[in-house]
Symmetry: C2
Subunit: 350 residues, 2 copies
C-alpha cells in the first residue's frame, strides 16, 4: 500500500484541535505532503493551510483527500458524505484511519468504483500475514514503548528518525497505527491484525536490511495496559529491537481510562520491556526516555527532564521540545547500554 501525495487534509466541522490530531500529525512531520485543508464551516479548526475545495485541490495537483479528523466511535459523519463524494467525483483517492471502513459505506464505495479512485482504510490490515518465524533479521531496529497509551510513542519515533536522517544515517520510520501510516504513506495497523499473526506482521514491517540501517518503529499500547498489552508484546517480539525508547507523560497517574490501574514505575517498565524483548533479541536495551512535556513552562520542563535523567541514568528528551539529537548520538556512538560486544547487532555503525 502506497498512498499518493500531496494530500488535502479534511477537517470536517470540528472546532477542537485535539479532534484534528491526525491532520496535525501529518502536517507536523510531512509538511511537504500537505497542500491544503478542507473545512466544512467557519468555526472549524484552522491548521494554517490554504483552504481548498476538492476541485481546487485537484487543479493544484493534490492526489489524495485524507480524513484528518476523528469522530466519537470512529464512524463516518453523515455531514461529510457530500464533500467526500465531490472529492471522489473530482478524481481524488480517499484515505481514512477510522474504524468505519470507507469501502463499506455504500454511497462512497459505489462512487469510488464508478470514478476509478482508491479508498485507503489504513486502520484495517487486509494483507494476510504469516506466523512469526523468530528468525533474527539483519540491520538495526529501535522500538518506542510506552508506560501507557497516548504518551508520544509515534512522535518519539518520528523525532529519532528525523535526527538519524539529518546525520545521513540510512533509516526508515515504520508506522504501526493509522496516523503513523498516513504520515509514512505505508505501514501496518498492528492492533487490527488477528492476534495469531500480530508478531508475524511486525516481522514483515522491518525486513532484513543493510548492517548500518536503522528501522525506527512506532510502538503501540503498553505491557501494563489491561486491554492492549498483548498487542504491545507481539509488536515487541516481532520487531526484535536492538534499542528501546520508553515514552512517558509525567503528569499521568493511572492508565488512561482505567482509574483502577496505577502507572508502573519507569524502572518496572524498563525491566519488563527489556526482559520480554530479549526473547527475540538478546541484545535489546532501553537507551533513552521520551518525556511528553507538552504545555509545561521552560523551568518545569527542564526540571522534569533532569529528574527523569537522574532517576534512570539514561538520555531523556522531549520529541517536540528538545528533539532527539541526543538519542541519535547515543545510537551512533554505540554507548549507553547498546551492545558494543555484539558487532552483528550494531553492524557498521559502531
Amino acid at each position: 500500500m502506497r498512498i499518493p501525495g500531496p494530500y488535502l487534509l479534511f477537517l470536517g466541522d470540528t472546532p477542537h484541535r485535539l479532534d484534528a490530531k491526525t491532520a496535525s500529525g501529518i502536517l507536523d512531520w510531512r509538511p511537504e505532503l500537505c497542500a491544503g485543508q478542507c473545512r466544512l464551516g467557519a468555526g472549524t479548526v484552522d491548521l494554517g493551510l490554504p483552504d481548498m475545495t476538492p476541485a481546487a485541490a485537484v487543479a493544484a495537483g493534490v492526489r489524495t483527500l485524507v480524513i484528518g479528523v476523528a469522530t466519537f466511535g470512529g464512524a463516518i459523519d453523515d455531514a461529510w458524505v457530500g464533500t467526500l463524494l465531490a472529492a471522489i467525483h473530482a478524481g481524488l483517492d480517499i484515505a481514512s484511519g477510522m474504524h468505519a471502513r470507507l469501502g463499506e459505506h455504500p454511497a462512497i464505495a459505489a462512487a469510488a468504483r464508478e470514478a476509478g479512485v482508491r479508498l485507503f482504510d489504513v486502520r484495517h490490515a487486509d494483507t494476510r500475514f504469516d506466523v512469526a518465524s523468530g528468525r533474527k533479521r539483519s540491520g538495526l531496529r529501535l522500538l518506542t514503548v510506552g508506560v501507557d497509551c497516548a504518551v508520544g510513542k509515534k512522535y518519539a519515533a518520528l523525532a529519532i528518525h528525523r535526527a538519524l536522517a539529518r546525520r545521513g544515517v540510512a533509516a526508515d520510520f515504520r508506522a504501526t497505527g493509522q496516523t503513523g501510516i498516513l504520515i509514512a504513506g505505508g505501514g501496518v495497523a498492528i492492533d487490527a491484525v488477528v492476534s495469531d499473526f500480530a508478531a508475524g506482521a511486525a516481522e514483515t514491517l522491518s525486513p532484513d536490511n543493510a548492517p548500518g540501517h536503522w528501522d525506527v518503529i512506532e510502538g503501540q499500547g503498553s505491557l501494563f495496559h489491561p486491554a492492549y498489552a498483548g498487542v504491545s508484546l507481539a509488536l515487541l517480539h516481532g520487531s526484535q529491537p536492538d534499542a528501546l525508547v520508553l515514552c512517558h507523560d509525567v503528569r499521568r497517574t493511572h492508565i488512561d481510562g482505567y482509574p483502577d490501574y496505577p502507572l508502573p514505575t519507569l524502572a518496572a517498565c524498563i525491566a519488563a520491556n527489556e526482559q520480554a524483548a530479549r526473547l527475540t533479541n538478546r541484545a535489546a536495551r532501553c537507551v533513552a526516555i521520551a518525556l511528553n512535556t507538552h504545555g509545561m513552562g521552560e523551568v518545569e520542563r527542564a526540571d522534569a527532564l533532569a529528574r527523569t535523567r537522574e532517576e534512570t541514568g539514561l538520555v531523556v528528551f522531549d520529541p517536540i521540545a528538545t528533539g532527539a539529537d541526543a538519542v541519535a548520538e547515543t545510537l551512533l556512538a554505540g554507548t549507553c547500554g547498546l551492545p558494543q560486544a555484539s558487532p552483528h547487532t550494531l553492524g557498521d555503525i559502531a
Copy 2:
C-alpha cells in the same frame, strides 16, 4: 452454534500424531461422539477408530466430518479437497478449526450451498468483542499456561474441570482453541480475534459468576513463544485468573518448531506468568504443574513427577496418567499459594 454428532474424524495423510491433536483431543474427552476416522493413505496416523469413507459414515449415522488434523499456517491442503467434496455430496456437515475458512474455499463453499450442508469454521470468532475493561469479575478462575505450545494446556484444564465436577463443585471448562471448542460445543478461538480485542474476548469468556464457581480456562501458547506470546498475554490479562497451572513436557528442549529458542526454566515461567497475571488480579498464583508424561514407563513417570515436585514445591500431576484430583483438593482447601488472605477472590470455597 451446535455441531451435530456423531463425528467422522478426518486425518488427511499426516504420519505425525502431534498434527492430529484435534482428533485425539475429541476422542479422549468425547469418545461417544467419535464414530470413525477417515485417512488418505496407509501411512496416516491411526487413532484406532473404524476407517470409513464419507458415504460409509453417512450409512453409519455420522452427521459431521471434523477436520482433525492441523497444517502449518492453517491452510486447507489441496490433497484434502476431493474427500471433503465427497463428504459434502454424501450429506455431511463439515467442521474445521483451521485458519483458512471452509466458507471461503470456492469449490467447498459452492458444493455446501448446493448440497444444503453446513460449514462450521470454529476457529473464527465472528462475534464482535469490546476492548477489555479490566474490571474485576466475581467467581473464581483457573488458567492453564504453558512453557511452550502443545504441552497439554487443554488436557490439564479438562482434567481439572473433571476433578472439580466430580466433587460437586460448580465449574465450567472454557475453550479458547478449536479442539476445545469442538469438545465443549462453544467458546472463543482467542488467537483468531483481532489483537486489539483479544483481552476483551477473554473477558467475555468467563463472565461474572457465583462466588464459589470455578471457570477452568484453556490456555494458549506461551509467554516465551516468539510468535504467540501476545495471544498468551491477552488471554492471561482478560482471564484474571486466581490460580495458574503451568503445563510442561519434560522432554521438550526448545520451543517446538523454533530450534533457536531454548525452553525457559519452570521457575522463569512461573515468575513471568505470575508477574503478568497480577496486572489484572493481584492474587494470581501458580498452584500446580501439569506434566505431559505421555509414552513414559511407570518408573520414568514417577521420577519426572517427583523431580518436578522437588524443583517447584507445587502439586505436580499428569492430566491423563494421574488425573487432577490433587489440584482440585488444593483449590478447595485454599492452600498451596492460593490467596487465603483475600477472601473476595476465594469466595465461599475457602
